[in-house]
């Protein structure tokens, strides 16, 4: 943990380049939820030459499927899901302009290469800390694939969502760095 940084969406090339693996970031603004089924659908739309459910420019995708909202609340518990399952789709979406993702767990080499090539950033949220993260969400609205239930694309307005830079635009990653620092045999 090196610094506490506060950031607001949308992201730009400059803001992304300032981030280093291990930085703690409190994120405010708009993030879009999309996980397995939504990624599959977005890639199918791209193949057919159709447009994406939201503009990727400066946008953030959060790999998450929330719990239902209780009455009077914008959303239920909403923590990150394992990002590795989206690895198959991510290079395609980054080619389309996506630069910022939030999830949990290490990405494959193709995704890391795409992050370096397009100067993107991959944040990790704390897996399982979902009740706490639900409290960072001020607003939630389904904007695509309603039929997918929890897997629908939601536009969330978040305030101080705690995330950690897991892979920075140079390809450094906290998972390997952190593990190497504490591994002993």
């Amino acid at each position: 943990m090196e610094d506490r940084i506060e950031m607001t969406t949308p992201f730009t090339d400059e803001t992304i380049k300032k981030l280093n693996a291990g930085d703690m970031v409190y994120l405010s603004g708009t993030v879009y939820t999309a996980r397995d089924a939504a990624h599959k659908k977005m890639c199918e739309l791209l193949e057919k030459g159709e447009s994406m459910p939201f503009d990727f420019t400066g946008a953030v995708i959060y790999y998450a499927g929330p719990c239902p909202a209780k009455p009077g609340r914008p959303i239920g518990s909403v923590g990150p899901t394992t990002s590795g399952r989206m690895d198959l789709y991510t290079p395609t979406l980054m080619k389309e302009g996506l630069r910022v993702m939030i999830g949990k767990g290490l990405r494959n080499q193709e995704v890391i290469d795409s992050i370096i090539r397009y100067s993107g950033v991959y944040f990790a949220a704390i897996g399982g800390a979902a009740a706490l993260m639900g409290q960072s969400v001020e607003n939630s609205e389904i904007i695509a694939f309603d039929e997918l239930g929890t897997e629908a694309v939601r536009k969330l307005h978040v305030k101080n969502l705690p995330v950690i830079v897991a892979i920075d635009c140079k390809g450094n990653n906290i998972y390997e760095k952190g593990r190497a620092a504490f591994a002993h045999h």
């Binding site: 719990c67 239920g76 704390i126």
Partner: protein, 280 residues
Amino acid sequence: MRTIQSENITELVEELCIKSNCELPGDIYRFLTTGVPKEKSLLGREILYTLVKNADIARQGRDPICQDTGMTVVFVTMGQNVHVEGAFIEDAINEGVRRGYEKGYLRKSVVKDPLNRINTKDNTPAVIHYEMVPGDQFHIIVAPKGFGSENMSRLKMLKPSQGVQGIKDFVIQTVSEAGANPCPPIIVGVGIGGTMEKSALLGKKALLRPVGQINENTQLAELEAELLESINALGIGPAGFGGTTTAMSVHILTYATHIAGLPVSVNIGCHVTRHAEGEL
């Protein structure tokens, strides 16, 4: 013969679905709170502290600890003198899951079949394991299982000649490859022996043992301690960001096996390894 009404089973399952998803078991809560000062990574300590805070928020607000409220695994222990009146027991349990996941605002994560993947929208069916015992008891454990950790679980049919070393290597390899994905600090459930499916069930059941409870079998207790030390030396740490707390504990269950075989299953439980139990 003792008669139990199926509606009472449904009500119990409903209550346990909500309780298990919103209240972190006391043994894990204690581990997380007492584990903060022991973790050597500053970021790791911050993560453990955040998990405690998350558990407090969930308990107070009756909110799910994790958004992955799991596939509902149910263990039924039923005395052979018990008779269930009303609905079929399986239907009664699934109705309890249906009601619990609706009333508790829990996520519905189950798809009807693995190939076509259409959500059943009520988290049914549950995965139900029945165990018949003598007498007239009726005991239920509801253990919702998230798939971040379930996906990182593995099974291997070892050769008897691979022995204890083979078991150790397989357990360590499984946890090492899982890395950050199963949301460490994890509980490692290890099922050894039986047939293929028996070892998998033992691995799952091993996750139900409270953290901190020592295995009554001395040989297994020593093996658990040794495995825990090796796992925590991997450096994966809380949330996988590096640290000394990768696993809370290793739990081993064994069963008789065949002269030709050594089945080993490693079922990984996340830091929200949930279970709640009740009796009728």
